[in-house]
């Protein structure tokens, strides 16, 4: 694994305090691993030639140049069409949770959002930011200028996951708010009523938005690593339950799987990309998901 690729690991990224650097590292590490040129092939306006490199799409080889020079060159294009993206960040208190990872769910989501923002701005896609807890709290309109990256980062850096949450209501609000067809990237642990959440997601889809649902859970929430008798407290409702963790693990995991499965199947049916993440996973999965989605748009 190269040094840059290792930046895709949450524990490494955590050590970088500056969010902009984090985003850069993430994207560069991610790109390094792809062995392809994700920057290219999306726009139609020619910008320059360059030598063919393994990983380039052979269809981009400029055969005229080859005829003249007997060398392979590929054509590079400027992006012609832009995709408006919205980063939708859940501010609920539960997002600030981690059991034993370097990053909380919220940190993880912010890093991810920053990286995506970086990629989008770099591609001159307009990107905006929406945060919500029980309702939409802040909204940064999408722009494709380079300074937008800075704006997004400064906003992200100041966010604190403190409130109660009503994902369904907030997403409904968002659906009403968005005028143009956009890619809506939601970062949440989805710890609410799944039926209500799905209703609001349907609403977004109904307005022809592309929705990528990053379902981020803490590693502990996925593996239930507790041992013996434990008392668990919900940070939002402050409800407490005593359980025998060892005895209960199987049931918990089953329940969680049912929960995720429900989202998985319903999202699939409604054309929503459902990305299951936990805070111990590398970021590339999330980034790749965005790129695939973006590519699918053309």
């Amino acid at each position: 694994m190269s040094a840059i690729e290792s930046y895709l690991k949450p524990e490494v990224i955590r050590q970088i305090s500056r969010l902009d650097l984090r985003a850069q590292f993430l994207v560069k590490g991610f790109m390094q691993g792809l062995h392809a040129s994700p920057y290219h092939g999306f726009s139609v306006e020619f910008s320059e030639h360059r030598r063919y490199e393994p990983g380039d799409d052979p269809k981009d080889i400029d055969w005229l140049v080859y005829a003249k020079t007997d060398r392979y060159y590929v054509k590079k294009f400027e992006a012609e069409t832009n995709i408006t993206g919205y980063l939708v960040m859940d501010l609920s208190r539960s997002m600030g949770y981690t059991y034993r990872q370097e990053m909380t769910k919220f940190d993880y989501c912010i890093s991810l959002a920053a990286a995506l923002c970086y990629m989008m701005v770099h591609q001159q896609d307009p990107v905006g930011l929406v945060t919500f807890d029980t309702k939409i709290r802040t909204s940064l309109p999408p722009k494709s200028k380079r300074q937008q990256f800075g704006n997004v980062l400064s906003l992200l850096a100041n966010l604190k996951p403190t409130g109660d949450t009503d994902i369904a209501h907030s997403l409904s609000q968002l659906a009403a708010m968005l005028k143009h067809k956009s890619v809506v990237m939601i970062f949440s642990d989805l710890l609410g009523d799944p039926d209500m959440v799905m209703q609001s997601l349907y609403r977004l889809r109904h307005r022809h938005h592309d929705v990528i649902l990053f379902h981020v859970l803490d590693e502990a929430e996925v593996t239930f690593p507790f041992d013996g008798m434990v008392e668990l407290e919900d940070p939002e409702s402050l409800e407490k339950i005593k359980v025998d963790a060892n005895n209960y693990r199987a049931d918990y995991l089953k329940e969680l799987e049912e929960f995720r499965g429900k989202y998985r199947s319903e999202c699939f049916q409604s054309g929503i990309d459902y990305v299951e993440l936990d805070t111990s996973m590398q970021f590339d999965k999330a980034l790749l998901e965005y790129l695939i989605r973006r590519q699918a748009r053309f």
Binding site: M229, E231, E233, V243, E255, F259
Partner: protein
């Protein structure tokens, strides 16, 4: 159930530790924030219930493991008799726990509710069964003291020293085997034990605190032909053990287990006593021999102990063959009469020379008997000793010989008193037939007088007096008769028409009469006759074999007397067929009074006879009966010369030597003992040795004596069935052993009981293992 380390049971309190840990020291759960609580909540309630159940199961297993560990260390043991019941209880308990656990587990899931109900019902039923069985098990152990093998005991060793125990096999008698095992066991008893040795001759059981003394007593045991039987010995031993202060009591019985030893009328009482004294452990040591081969003279009968001169004496030996068939010779020896013998010379008993009078070879089939008759004729007057013996050797020598003593004496003097018009000729001819008188063989010398001459007759000159149809007798006559009878004379009365009610019922007459006379009865058209109910009385012994074919009904009785009431000690020997007593016997001190309620002396020519007992055609039954009657009467007052072991012998001395000291020579040949007669008789209570006993004065004079034999059939060695032993001693109430090893093992089981240490330890280990496996399963970390 008892415990060797009872105090360790206090360790049972340790069971509380897991309970306390479970209830009080409950572990405080670690606190965690956990936003995904909604996934936990879904199945929480059901899970909590399952969790609690698992906790309770583990708690139960832990408690059980500790409980059984403590139980094992307390060294529990139960009486072997109750092992079966305790095992069933154990299994029931185990099943209850298992079914209970399963039931508990099924209650945890709503899907298995029906199963849970079923299992719970089964568990409850098992538990009820357990509760029902527990008191039974405890009652089985009531009084049984278990525990330390080395706790001192009070032990009684009962040895059957009957002659059967002399049976030899492999050069060792049964008694020797019993002594060997007994000596060993006595030595093995714990220190400070008290031991009593009891055999047939023991009088009063005394406990010895010294094992050596007990062993010495065992070594000194001898065969005792007489004495108490085993059942009586056991009863005495149980009484002593009951009173003994020691807590642990043991009774050892050494017996050959022959039917004869255990055939006792008091068996029921023994069983009852054993049921009462549950704290006495009974060990029955079977010292019987295998493949017995023995020929015995199991009985010897003699026609009469005392006969008049010239009377033939008939003896009958009863042989019995146990084991394979054999051919044996049987001989009869008769001692010559020698007034100078016996004497002890140089420590040896010198007896008169005996000559063999008969010899006969008999072939005896296996387990079959034979009756061998002998006849002795022409014996001189005086007492004769002799014996019947089998030649050759077999396993048991003591029953190869039986002794007899017979007295030949002058004919008995009879006085026949005729009442008015009474005719004595029929009776006289019956008692002393003319042909016998001619050949000097008659058993009786009869003098006939009329009643009027009675006043001037000395009754003491006669052995017996017969009154034929007596009329009114004076008060003096009645008193004379009373005195005569009390001294040993026999008085027979045949009541007829001369009898006067007031005279017979007078105060003086009642000294002799067995009751108040009531009235005369006439048969009229009715057919009355003598109707003996059975022939058990000695007087009727002659009829025993032909009992039912005696034609009594051919000899009608037309008239008879009846009594109002009979004295308590009066005994009706024969009744008429109408139920009225015909012949009544009453013992008066040494003598006997016989009253026949019909007359046999009527002259048929003068008046209607009272009966046809003598006058009917072929009147043999009454001929025999009258002879038996008079012989019974005279022999009652005569000496008895043949006894069985244990009986008290009574010997009449010669009138000339009354009051003189006599020397008693026992069959043992010990130094003679001096005995002094009292009222012309010598009582000898100790007839435990078999053989001829002889008595003579220190001066001259004819020796007197008697013979003592084993009880008939007392040496039959057929073994008693185990079921019979169970009936006598009570099932599971005794421990049967044949060898030292067996009895030691039985001792261990009774003293310490069946130990459960290993089982409980195993169970505790199993429970701990189960607990470990379950807790691992319950708390396993799923990675």
């Amino acid at each position: 159930m008892q415990f060797a380390n009872l105090s360790l049971l206090l360790g049972g309190a340790l069971v509380s530790i897991p309970i306390i840990l479970h209830l009080v020291m409950r572990q405080e759960p670690k606190h965690f924030e956990f936003p995904a609580l909604r996934f936990v909540k879904q199945k929480n309630i059901q899970n909590q219930r399952r969790l609690q159940l698992k906790h309770w199961i583990l708690l139960l297993l832990r408690c059980c493991a500790i409980f059984f560990l403590v139980l094992a260390l307390a060294l529990p043991s139960v009486a072997s008799s109750a092992v079966g019941t305790w095992l069933i209880i154990g299994l029931l308990g185990f099943a209850t726990v298992i079914v209970g656990l399963l039931a508990g587990a099924s209650w945890g899931s709503p899907k298995t509710k029906r199963l849970a109900i079923g299992l719970t019902s089964v568990a409850v039923l098992l538990f009820v069964g357990l509760l029902a069985l527990l008191p039974f098990a405890l009652s089985q152990e009531k009084g049984t003291l278990l525990g330390d093998q080395e706790a001192p005991v009070a032990a009684v060793f009962v040895f059957d020293t009957s002659p059967r125990m002399e049976y030899e096999q492999q050069n060792e008698s049964r008694l020797a085997v019993a002594q060997r095992i007994g000596g060993y066991l006595a030595g093995q008893l714990p220190d400070e034990s008290e031991i009593a040795i009891v055999d047939r001759a023991t009088r009063g059981i005394v406990f010895a605190t010294n094992t050596g003394a007990a062993q010495q007593a065992i070594t000194g045991l001898e065969i005792k032909p007489g004495g108490d039987d085993v059942v009586d010995l056991l009863l005495d031993a149980l009484d002593k053990l009951e009173a003994h202060e020691k807590k642990r009591k043991e009774l050892y019985v050494f017996s050959d287990l022959s039917t004869a030893a255990w055939d006792s009328a008091r068996a029921d009482r023994l069983k009852k006593r054993l049921e009462e004294l549950t704290d006495v452990a009974v060990y029955l040591l079977d010292v019987s021999a295998e493949n017995i081969s023995n020929t015995s003279i199991s009985n010897l009968t003699i026609s009469a102990d005392s006969v008049s001169r010239n009377t033939d004496i008939y003896l009958q030996a009863e042989l019995f063959q146990e084991g394979p068939s054999s051919e044996r010779s049987i001989e009869l020896y008769l001692e010559k009469q020698d007034p100078a013998l016996p004497i002890i010379e140089d420590g040896i008993l010198l007896l008169p020379e005996a000559t063999r009078r008969h010899r006969q070879t008999v072939k005896l089939a296996s387990d079959q008997g034979a009756l061998i008759p002998f006849k002795l004729a022409g014996l001189e007057e005086g007492l004769h000793h002799g014996w019947v013996q089998l030649t050759g050797k077999d396993g048991l020598a003591i029953d190869d010989r039986r002794w007899f003593s017979v007295e030949v004496r002058e004919p008995w003097d009879l006085l026949v008193v005729e009442g008015q018009n009474a005719r004595s000729s029929d009776l006289v001819d019956a008692l002393a037939p003319p042909a016998f008188l001619a050949s000097d063989r008659a058993a009786f010398e009869i003098e006939v007088i009329s009643q009027s001459k009675l006043e001037n007759t000395d009754l003491d000159l006669f052995d017996s007096v017969i009154l034929l149809d007596p009329g009114t007798l004076s008060a003096r006559n009645w008193r004379d008769f009373d005195r005569f009878v009390r001294r040993g004379g026999g008085l027979a009365m045949f009541l007829g028409s001369n009898a006067d009610l007031s005279n017979v019922n007078s105060e003086e007459a009642q000294l002799v009469m067995p009751g108040k006379l009531a009235r005369q009865w006439r048969a009229g058209q009715r057919n009355w006759f003598l109707a003996p109910e059975d022939y058990q009385h000695q007087m009727l012994a002659s009829f025993r074999e032909i009992g039912t074919s005696v034609p009594w009904n051919k000899f009608p009785v037309y008239r008879h007397w009846s009594f109002d009431s009979l004295a308590e000690d009066a005994n009706v020997i024969v009744r008429y067929n109408n139920g009225v007593p015909a012949l009544i016997e009453q013992a008066k001190q040494k003598g006997t009074v016989l009253v026949f309620t019909s007359s046999i002396s009527d002259d048929p020519a003068t008046k209607a006879a009272w009966n046809e007992l003598f006058t009917s055609f072929e009147s043999w039954p009454f001929f025999v009966f009258s002879n038996s009657m008079v012989k019974y009467m005279v022999q009652k007052s005569e000496g008895k010369f043949n006894y069985l072991t244990g009986q008290r012998a009574i010997v009449a001395t010669d009138d000339n030597e009354a009051g003189k000291t006599h020397l008693l020579f026992t069959p043992h040949g010990d130094d003679p003992q001096e005995v002094t007669p009292e009222a012309n008789t010598i009582n000898i209570p100790f007839t435990h040795s078999i053989g001829s006993y002889r008595l003579r004065t220190t001066g001259s004079g004819n020796p007197i004596g008697f013979s003592v034999n084993l009880l008939p059939k007392s040496t039959r060695m057929a073994k008693v069935e185990l079921s019979t032993l169970d009936e006598i001693l009570g099932e599971s109430r005794y421990h049967l052993a044949q060898t030292q090893e067996e009895v030691v093992r039985e001792q261990g089981e009774v003293r310490v009981g069946r130990k459960f240490y290993a089982y409980f330890l195993l169970l505790a280990a199993f429970l701990l293992g189960l607990e470990y496996a379950l807790s691992n399963r319950f708390y396993q970390t799923e990675l």
